[in-house]
Symmetry: C2
Subunit: 244 residues, 2 copies
């Protein structure tokens, strides 16, 4: 069951041969329900497992001395948020559930054993961590260079395209159970300004976010507005399929 979810994750990242797939399916791990707002791994800790999100919505964030937060990424079902704990001794950010979720905890030992047997699987997991790294760079650029409305459009595009790639888009909408305060923590803005920016985006008719759901009415125009190019997501199928 967990093995299957991991195999699905790796297929999203790259090619998985039949034999590698078989080996991955053998992964055991442990399923754990997580309550809303509960931390799964905390800054400074040294987890002995990696996390795979089965159902729900997570965020990675860091807290600063002055109480402000910066969200580093959001995670949807099928994502593997804390791969880095395999080789880094201490977490430098926390990962928590935004809504009630279900995660698989896979002991590092089990992963390392799998890697020893199946180098191609190790390569895929590494690749997954590298594409996350690419995502952090894009967030850096987005928050540093784009004005509030552009940055928000960019984030909406990202979540929509990632959701689509994960098969989580229904019609023209997907789950995005965030408060405006959380959007602010991701975009480096204040809650008040997110509110006003969201209203102005709404008025364009390209996109909307309400009741924890994201509605994208014109992805192409939205992407253009937010200077969004899905290249950095390193999706397997390429972006051609994405702008459907």
């Amino acid at each position: 069951m967990i093995g299957e979810a991991l195999a699905k994750h790796l297929c999203r990242v790259g090619e998985l041969t039949r034999e590698d797939r078989q080996a991955v399916l053998g992964v055991k791990g442990e399923v754990r329900p997580v309550r809303r707002h509960e931390d799964i791994v905390k800054t400074g800790s040294s987890p002995t497992f990696s996390v795979l999100l089965l159902r729900g919505f997570l965020q990675r964030y860091g807290s600063r001395r002055d109480g402000s937060r910066q969200i580093h990424s959001f995670y949807i079902a099928g994502d593997a948020p804390s791969l880095e704990s395999i080789h880094l001794d201490r977490m430098d950010s926390s990962i928590c559930a935004i809504v009630s979720s279900e995660v698989a905890l896979i002991p590092h030992g089990e992963l390392l054993a799998l890697f020893a047997q199946r180098p191609a699987v190790e390569a895929l997991v590494w690749r997954s961590s590298l594409s996350q790294s690419s995502l952090f760079r894009e967030w850096l650029t987005r928050n540093s260079r784009l004005p509030a409305d552009g940055a928000m459009a960019h984030l909406f595009c990202e979540m929509y395209v990632r959701s689509k790639a994960a098969g989580l888009v229904d019609q023209n909408s997907c789950d995005m159970p965030l408060t405006q305060e959380m959007l602010a923590d991701a975009l480096g803005l204040t809650g008040v300004h997110v509110n006003r920016t969201l209203q102005s985006l709404r008025e364009t008719g390209l996109v909307d976010h309400k009741a924890g759901r994201l509605y994208v009415h014109d992805l192409r125009k939205l992407a253009n507005f937010g200077d969004f190019d899905p290249q950095y997501l390193h999706l397997r199928n390429g972006q051609a399929a994405v702008f459907s």
Copy 2:
């Protein structure tokens, strides 16, 4: 010679056993001089080698449609800037020389062969790429959350601490051959504002940057001012030694 540089890099990242070290020393690769402003790898390309910086100063950057740039990271001697090209098909940012430099190009084939023989070396290289990922997250937080003077102090702390860990600090100063325009491209500010911010930092007496060199007069106070905590650099010796 290249093997030696790689071994040194890996020692900075983690433990290297005698046998692993021996294997690493066997790495060949090719030394290449790079002129000022020359790109080593370009966005969209698929390099067949990874890069190790032997001498000089590099930057990773992305260009946007409107002509603005975001710098994602700076690299000093001993750094391995483009590890991700091993497993990602296309570069999503470019790496170029800021001053005339010398790099080692190590073919992916050679690295993969080494990994197959020495899994612990693979783990170290992976670890190196993970600590870079951590650095991108910190830059995201810095540019999104800190005011201009704090962000600049934070960047100065980072470069100083990394230089110190690499043995490149002389007295209380290290090379940082950047123009104010480049500082602006890193911090998400304009050149004009970087100029004024730098002046105000100068007046505090904590730090100075002139003629391509960084002078740190009080690291502890500067770190406090820029809310800098070296944890995210994942240095082997820990930060205790760092704040000397």
